[in-house]
């Protein structure tokens, strides 16, 4: 039997799991590229020119997205488990975090 699950908390759960898995799979590649800084700086510079490619830029966007949803998913879990707040309090807290993130990111983007 197909089981219906698509409610917000379950979707948040699966998003957190899958983003964590994808980030874990990315980590070896990340460390391998970083290790070039120690072993072969010229090779690292050559490798980093790849980041000018649109496809790599898109992949970077995906990485930042995964990191963002995983970080906020983790904060959500910590708040859910450790702060016995009422539902409206949680909604307000989430809205406050989202709002401040929006404002601070806007300032950051203007700064660079």
């Amino acid at each position: 039997m197909i089981v219906a699950r698509a409610h917000p908390l379950w979707l948040a759960y699966i998003l957190h799991r899958l983003s964590g898995l994808a980030l874990a799979l990315f980590l070896p590649l990340h460390f391998w590229v970083l290790s070039m800084a120690v072993t072969d700086a010229a090779r690292l510079d050559a490798f980093l020119t790849l980041t000018d490619m649109p496809l790599v830029k898109l992949a970077e966007f995906g990485l930042v997205f995964l990191l963002a949803v995983h970080v906020f998913g983790g904060l959500r879990l910590l708040a859910l488990e450790w702060l016995p707040w009422s539902a409206p309090q949680k909604t307000w807290a989430a809205a406050a975090v989202a709002g401040s993130f929006l404002v601070s990111t806007t300032f950051l983007l203007r700064a660079i």
């Binding site: 039997m1 197909i2 089981v3 219906a4 699950r5 409610h7 917000p8 908390l9 379950w10 759960y13 879990l77 859910l80 488990e81 450790w82 016995p84």
Partner: protein, 243 residues
């Protein structure tokens, strides 16, 4: 009952312990006002008397008629067909995460065994010779306990939970919520035993906070918050000693 309109396609999961499970289709008269339990009863009374299912009170109090309806665990006696039809069709099966006895009747034994294993039973503070201990209805602990006591043991949360599906040892939302209500009961004398029972393998820390229990509880209870309460209580005890 309102005038009969059309027939509706209903598929029912048949079979059970020892027999291959299969789907059987029935054309059931559709009425303006009917519950999923009405549909199942119509099939048993008019199409196939060998269909096995379980119900008792028909008013949402006894918790015996829960089934999977179009992929969602529901109390069938209080679920109107018009609310759950998918493309004009209805698929009914036995509760998930429990062994099937036959057709739509699930074996509730594992569910109740875990209820006992979670130590959700009363540990008295006084004997019958002593005065009855007063309970303050306004106390925060009492209100926390009261929030979870209207459970009818229907096993819908147990059936909705993917952690139960993946971990046979997991006690499940209903048993843990029961333990949480007893833990918050001023008349309970052995809170340590409850925390011992719920903090081991398959206890509250196995929960992944998916929230399907709270989402599908027909009585609008919140087992997820109860389990989170147990997580905090067991962790507090780990760092500070018993409450």
């Amino acid at each position: 009952m309102a005038a009969q309109a059309t027939a509706m396609k209903v598929t029912v999961e048949r079979g059970g312990a020892g027999t291959e499970s299969h789907r059987q289709s029935f054309d059931v008269p559709a009425y303006e006002n009917q519950t999923v339990l009405d549909v199942v009863s119509w099939i048993q009374q008019n199409a196939d008397p060998t269909l096995t299912y379980r119900f008792a009170c028909r008013v949402g109090m006894c918790g015996s008629c829960a089934m999977m309806v179009n992929g969602v665990p529901r109390w069938t006696c209080r679920t109107h067909v018009s609310r759950v039809l998918k493309d004009g069709a209805l698929h009914v099966g036995p509760l998930r995460n429990l062994p099937v006895i036959k057709d739509l009747a699930a074996d509730m034994d594992p569910f109740f065994d875990k209820w006992v294993a979670a130590e959700g039973r009363h540990h008295p503070t006084r004997s019958r010779e002593e005065e009855i201990q007063p309970v303050d209805p306004a106390a925060p602990e009492r209100q926390t306990a009261s929030a979870g006591i209207e459970c009818i043991n229907c096993a819908i949360c147990y059936s909705a939970c993917d952690t139960v599906a993946g971990n046979p040892d997991y006690l499940g939302p209903a048993a843990l919520q029961r333990a949480w209500t007893v833990y918050n009961d001023a008349k309970d004398a052995n809170k340590g035993a409850i925390l011992d029972a719920v903090s081991g393998k398959g206890g509250c820390h196995s929960c992944h906070s998916m929230g399907s229990c709270t989402q599908y509880c027909p009585n609008d209870l919140d087992p997820l918050s109860a389990i989170l309460g147990l997580k905090r209580a067991t962790t507090r005890r780990f760092f500070k000693g018993a409450k």
